[in-house]
Symmetry: C2
Subunit: 87 residues, 2 copies
DNA sequence: TGAGGTTACGCCTATCGTAATAATG
DNA sequence: CATTATTACGATAGGCGTAACCTCA
């Protein structure tokens, strides 16, 4: 689990739309779809309710989104030695 | 910057010895050495005082170590959906 | 049947391990 | 000269894009 999956997940969770999330991330749909699958697999939890479309976050997904935001905030708020780190 | 470099750095910062840090991480010295170089390059900051050995953290290194621990704590303390995630 | 998501496939980069090389104490 | 760190090099895994394919409203 790295910052990449975390960023991807936040984008998807907020957009609930792979194409828009992908656009926001500057990559294609395909890797985003795979990333979500991998993430759910790693966590052993389903993060989204899906029909064909992503309808909403599961409860686990909501909890995880909260965690991700905490992590991102921690990383971003931290005082940097000299330069900012791109997460 | 991902959790990998963060983990490597914490190990090295705590051990101040590449071989021990590498052992702790379950990999070889070589990638750890490269990781520290890459990290310093990314941050634009020297993290260690080095002679041939790593003698100690620079001030920037100490600050960064603090940040890393905060991030790790955030990740680890977060309530997990079902399963624990290995950072 | 069209909008949205997934899978297949090949490419490319990043990371690893082995091993050789430097440096200093 | 022994210990520790770095560099060189080849192998491999993982992430990406393109494009084909599936699925439900």
């Amino acid at each position: 689990m790295d910052f990449r999956l975390l960023r991807y997940f936040v984008a998807v969770a907020e957009e609930l739309h792979l194409a828009r999330a992908a656009e926001r991330l500057g990559i294609e749909q395909s890797p985003v779809s795979r990333a979500m699958r991998d993430l759910e697999s790693q966590l052993g939890v389903q993060l989204f309710d899906r029909s064909t479309r992503l309808t909403r976050l599961t409860w686990a997904g909501q909890v995880f989104l909260g965690e991700c935001r905490r992590v991102q905030a921690t990383v971003e708020q931290a005082p940097r030695p000299r330069r900012r780190v791109s997460v």
